[in-house]
Amino acid sequence: MDSQTIHYLTIHEAHDLLRRREVSARELMEATLTRVSETEERVRSYVSLTEELALRQADEADRRLTNGDNFSPLTGVPGAIKDVICTDGFRTTCSSRMLENFVPPYNAHVMEQLLSAGLVMVGKTNMDEFAMGSSTENSAFFPTHNPWDLDRVPGGSSGGSAAAVAAGEAVYALGSDTGGSIRQPAALCGIVGLKPTYGRVSRYGLVAFASSLDQIGPMTRDVTDAALVLNAIAGHDPRDSTSAPIETPDFTAGLTGDIKGLRLGVPKEYFVEGMDANVRRTVETAVRKLEELGATVDWDVSLPSTPHALACYYIIAPSEASANLARYDGVKYGFSYQEGEGMWDNMEKTRQFGFGDEVKRRIMLGTYALSAGYYDAYYLKAQKVRTLIRREFDAAFERYDALVTAVTPTTAFKLGEKTQDPLQMYLSDVCTIPVNIAGLPAISLPCGFVDGLPVGLQVIGKPFDEATVLRVAHAYEQATDWHTARPSL
């Protein structure tokens, strides 16, 4: 294994080498740190690196692997954590001035799970502030660059996680997805990103944005890796009252490569107006590949409420955000303005200087949508449309095992291209948002390139049927080699 490829191993490849002791966790981590030192100045995936911790964790993983007990497929494999997930004793900023120096006193549920699985944490990844955005340009610190073209965005909000995995700066990463924040950056960076069913993974310790939509999930180099990470982080947690009290299956069990007889639907509303013709062609070619592999494809499915999902989302998510972000008052933790004329002035200036523009915009949208006189027209209306969107999915899933669509209407756009027009930025999530509204599982996986930039294919499944989503994605991956392409950095 030469140093040119070691940082581009998948989890399962790394695990095979680690288990046979052909490579040590320390060597793997050191190779990752070398890679980070070569690329990070250009890519800027990380808000914080945790090298010392990582090397300690790597040594501990080596002990576990040498003793031959108590290790998992993740033991000793370098992973990155989106900086919205609380890490006990390590700064968790949400890429916001508000939490720039916040050190959580506890671990998120997913951190407890990954630590017991043998996580080696490379660092905390950059994101749009409080996960609000689609390009990682809303980070209060710096933008992250797309490893495939440094002048372009990596997508968002989990752009740092996506770029780290694509650039070889981590083997895998955790992201969070409220309206597409795992799948959209995964698509734009040419990696795999899975948003599990709402309730599959505990949100305990995930800094809240929109609590009825937020879900943590894996960002990986292939579908098997996504299944392995989901195995580690899924499961009921009584500390999150929306954590589903159901069994966690082995998500790798269904990865057979066989999708003969599976019924797939292509909802036509997802080929939205303004979609790049080459992206559309690439996605259609991918669906034809699934057909060749033996799936039956209905190309003429209709989910008529789809065009309303975006408005529905941009009412519901900001409404929930305006309530969730009320906690940032400068009293208990976080940035605190102290020089004002009194308590109210301090609180207002704390939020004025602590929050960036997009966060303020969404808090204001939510405040407006929930305010007296507008509640019925906006918030309640959106909640009703949400019911219609879910019903249409439920009806479709009586006829299809999964739905396949594009992930994004275009490939990665240029840095700065959409920052002045929030509505245009919102439209880049048009294909991912309906899935969150309905609480469904969905994956983005690489399915080709347009002008050298990656394109993603989305597979949407029934609630708690991640197994089928992964099976379809895995079968496609086995038959193609898009997932093995690497950016030249």
């Binding site: 006193p105 506890y106 004002g340 109210w344 305010s371 019911t387």
Partner: protein, 95 residues
């Protein structure tokens, strides 16, 4: 429906986000655009459709009421901008 300058100021006050005059002008335009986009929802017929608050439909999730220790006070206060005698310190609420 475009928002007036006064409405933007009012929302800013409710949300306590501390807007400058420049912010108000910019947000007035941007929020108006976004609200106009929302108008499309009014065309959707939602008569007799119940609202969905979250997709899981779990209700009244409860646990045994068992006392457990909380985090140590020092740990909870470690991130406090100002503290005094083991309490969060704030400016006077009532003048």
């Amino acid at each position: 429906m475009p928002l007036s300058k006064e409405e933007v100021e009012h929302i800013g006050r409710l949300a306590r986000v501390g807007l400058t005059d420049e912010d108000i002008a910019r947000f007035q335009e941007q929020l108006s655009d976004i609200l106009e986009y929302f108008e499309a929802l009014s065309e959707v017929n939602t008569d007799d459709v119940p609202p969905t608050t979250q997709s899981l439909q779990l209700q009244n999730v409860e646990r045994e009421d068992v006392p457990k220790p909380s985090y140590p006070k020092e740990q909870v206060l470690a991130n406090a901008p100002q503290q005094e005698d083991g309490y969060f310190r704030v400016r006077a609420v009532l003048e």
